[in-house]
């Protein structure tokens, strides 16, 4: 089976999405923009989101220069500060929701540690001759238990967001709508949207505050690092060798669901033990059918009409425990 077909999705509107590897040392954004323009995208302004850089949001001179001075920084982080400054009630409510989400995450982590440990222990047993079917069933069952927990956790997270939005109606509050109106106008003038990396939680929550996906027109999206992660349906945090803790990848949030069928893994070459077949297999099987896209610098993967393809060299985690190349787009 070709990996791109595994990730095939049907939808009424399929936005063109490009996910890039980290841009700091090897910027490739301009090549991606040029490629889109060669395909017919009008060479207009480019909306830039750098809210993941927090108070350094405005330090986007390199990004702007790289794109020939065509960027308009949407200043999402700054707008969030302004909204919270004007609307203390909303700010308090956001903090309370975030605290609930933090507690949910803590409890999920406790359960996850045991389930992952069990799945890993079973995978480590291998497949003795004559008993393969028993072990395969147990492996699958153990991984399915992890998947079920991930699903349940995501449902609870979404419930918290729904409860928050129903009660506090952020999109009807003047502190938010004034910025939504401005953002809508800015975005209408842009032919392309870019989301940079940074702090994934702050980036996601600031974008959600303004209902960012609903403000987008049909522009293509290019995202990298944390920007790629928040664009996905699920935000998965990962690091196999943190200085503290077990390094168990965890579902952290519901993403913006702009990039579907993919778990972006920026810096996976540094953050994951890609040579450890058991870890790779568990990761890939746990998040299947989504593609776990390894996105080190210089890589690029595209979603056209719901199908993921890539430039040569971009790889994804495979259920067999190795890395496979994505189908190369003709």
């Amino acid at each position: 089976m070709k990996p791109s077909s595994k990730a095939n999705r049907t939808a009424a509107f399929q936005r063109r999405v490009i996910l890039l590897g980290p841009q700091r040392l090897f910027p490739t954004l301009i090549q991606a923009v040029s490629a889109l323009e060669a395909e017919g995208l009008p060479a207009g302004r480019i909306a830039a989101v750098t809210a993941g850089w927090e108070e350094r949001e405005g330090e986007d001179q390199e990004l702007s220069a790289h794109l020939g001075g065509r960027t308009i920084n949407l200043r999402i982080w700054e707008r969030g500060e302004d909204a919270y400054g004007r609307d203390k009630e909303l700010h308090t409510a956001v903090r309370e929701r975030n605290e609930k989400l933090r507690v949910l995450q803590e409890l999920y982590q406790l359960r996850l540690a045991h389930l992952l440990s069990a799945a890993d222990a079973i995978l480590a047993r291998g497949l003795p001759p004559g008993l393969q079917s028993i072990y395969q069933e147990e492996c699958e069952s153990a991984i399915e238990a992890v998947r079920a927990l991930d699903r349940e956790h995501l449902i609870r997270i979404r419930e918290q967001h729904t409860l928050f939005e129903e009660r506090w109606k952020p999109f009807e509050r003047e502190s938010v709508t004034r910025h939504r109106d401005e953002l809508g106008k800015l975005l209408a003038d842009c032919s392309l949207v870019c989301i940079a990396g940074g702090h994934v939680s702050i980036l996601l929550r600031r974008l959600r505050l303004f209902g960012f996906p609903q403000l987008l027109q049909q522009q293509p999206l290019i995202a990298w690092s944390a920007g790629a992660m928040v664009a996905a349906e699920r935000v998965v945090l990962f690091h196999d060798d943190p200085p503290q803790g077990a390094g168990s990848a965890e579902v952290y949030e519901a993403g913006l669901a702009i990039a579907k069928g993919v778990i972006p893994l920026p810096h996976a070459d540094k953050r994951l033990e890609l040579g450890d077949r058991r870890r790779v297999a568990l990761f890939a099987r746990r998040f299947a059918p989504d593609l776990c896209a390894v996105l080190p610098p210089k890589t690029r993967t595209d979603c056209i009409d719901g199908v993921w393809s890539a430039q040569s060299g971009t790889r994804f985690l495979n259920a067999a425990g190795d890395l496979r190349e994505l189908e190369v787009r003709p």
Binding site: P22, R24, L25, G52, E55, R56, G197, G198, H199, V200, S201, I202, S225, A226, M229, L237, H239, P242, P243, Q244, P266, H267
Partner: protein, 378 residues
């Protein structure tokens, strides 16, 4: 007899220049699993291995291969060990302590350093080495007038890369801070850990005492200086968070005693303590045998054990298993835990030296000041 020693014996009667040339092609000391063989080639009446591993004889004699100037000595060294040593060469009445001329690996300290042998499996941690991708911070030199000490005290201040005055930072104060920079690669470690998001961007005050054995041994002036003078000055001058959970104090050996003493005298001021190979010598009965320089230390540790209070919120302790201080540190661990503080204790197969303290920095700093690694993807 190991194959390597057999090879030595076979070559012992070759031309001395040929032996030297052959030795230069070998990685020495020779490590084969747990077995380590030291080699010396030269004229001497006797050759001894001098090391500081507590529990082993501090001097171990080499064997001379008859009819040659080739000497060797083998010993067991557990996996992942790191051992510092010198060679003692005796010629007539003269004794000379030298670095191992056949080993290029050396550890450094204020007294000149030692040769180092790595047990099987030990590797110098990559995060202690320069990384071209890492954004580098910088160090500035400052001074402050101290009422407590009655004079000017110099300190250095580490600023992280991308330091911004609009952000507020944690503060770590380091006893013997410049020694940590010189001998434990502290600046490189801070740069790397901050760049890799394993600790948050922070300011680090590097203090250096002109009389550390006295001032760190529960001298009340040291705590006064840190808590009433240096830290308030820094918090007034720089964008620091200024709360106990964002303040840390650390040191090694007597510097660890000074850290615990200051925290004990001003409980709750520093939320985080990092105590490396603390010289926490105490007595249950009678006197100690460590010399007068330890008198104040023993008095302090005995008082502390009687009434530990709750000096901080979080403590990271480390100690080498090859130090005599390991037993004191093991005793302190449950005592510190009993105070209700969150305490972690890490042992290593190493001695009382700066590279042991360097190798524990990642675990200790990330334990006390966890960084945004899990959340930041740039």
């Amino acid at each position: 007899m190991s194959g390597f020693v057999q090879e030595l014996q076979q070559r012992a009667h070759e031309d001395p220049i040929a032996i030297d040339q052959w030795l230069r092609t070998r990685k020495l000391p020779h490590v084969d699993g747990r077995n380590v063989t030291f080699v010396f080639h030269g004229a001497a009446d006797s050759v001894h291995l001098r090391h500081w591993i507590f529990g082993l004889p501090t001097s171990q004699a080499f064997t001379r291969i008859p009819g040659s100037f080739l000497w060797h000595m083998s010993m067991q060294l557990p996996e992942n060990s790191r051992m510092e040593y010198k060679l003692e060469i005796v010629r007539g009445h003269a004794q000379q302590l030298i670095h191992d001329p056949l080993n290029v690996v050396q550890g450094h300290d204020p007294f000149g350093g030692n040769s180092v042998v790595f047990g099987a499996g030990y590797q110098v941690p990559a995060w202690t080495q320069h990384d071209a991708e890492t954004r580098e911070g910088h160090i500035e030199e400052h001074s402050i007038h101290s009422e407590a000490f009655g004079g000017t005290r110099h300190y250095s201040l580490y600023f992280p890369a991308r330091y911004r005055t609009m952000r507020r930072y944690p503060l770590l104060v380091v006893h013997d801070g410049l020694d940590y920079v010189r001998f434990s690669a502290l600046k490189t470690v801070l740069d790397n850990m901050i760049h890799r998001l394993e600790i948050p961007s922070m300011l680090v005050a590097l203090t250096q005492s002109p009389d550390r054995l006295r001032e760190y041994a529960d001298d009340p002036r040291q705590g006064e200086f840190l808590v009433r003078e240096l830290v308030p000055h820094l918090e007034a001058s720089y964008p620091l968070l200024g709360i106990p959970s964002a303040r840390g104090l650390m040191g090694a050996s007597f510097g660890a005693v000074g850290s615990l003493s200051a925290a004990w005298r001003f409980p709750g001021f520093f939320g985080n303590l990092m105590l490396q190979s603390g010289s926490f010598v105490f007595t249950d009965i009678g006197s100690h045998d460590r010399g007068p320089v330890f008198d104040n230390v023993v008095r302090f540790v005995n008082e502390f054990r009687d009434n530990p209070g709750r000096p901080a919120e979080r403590v990271f302790m480390s100690c080498g298993q090859y130090e005599s201080l390991i037993y004191y540190n093991r005793s302190m661990f449950p005592l510190l835990q009993s105070t209700g503080m969150h305490v972690r204790f890490s042992e290593s197969r190493d001695g009382h030296n700066w590279e042991n303290w360097r190798d524990r920095l990642r675990e200790g700093l990330s334990c006390l000041f966890p960084g945004p690694l899990w959340f930041v993807y740039e």
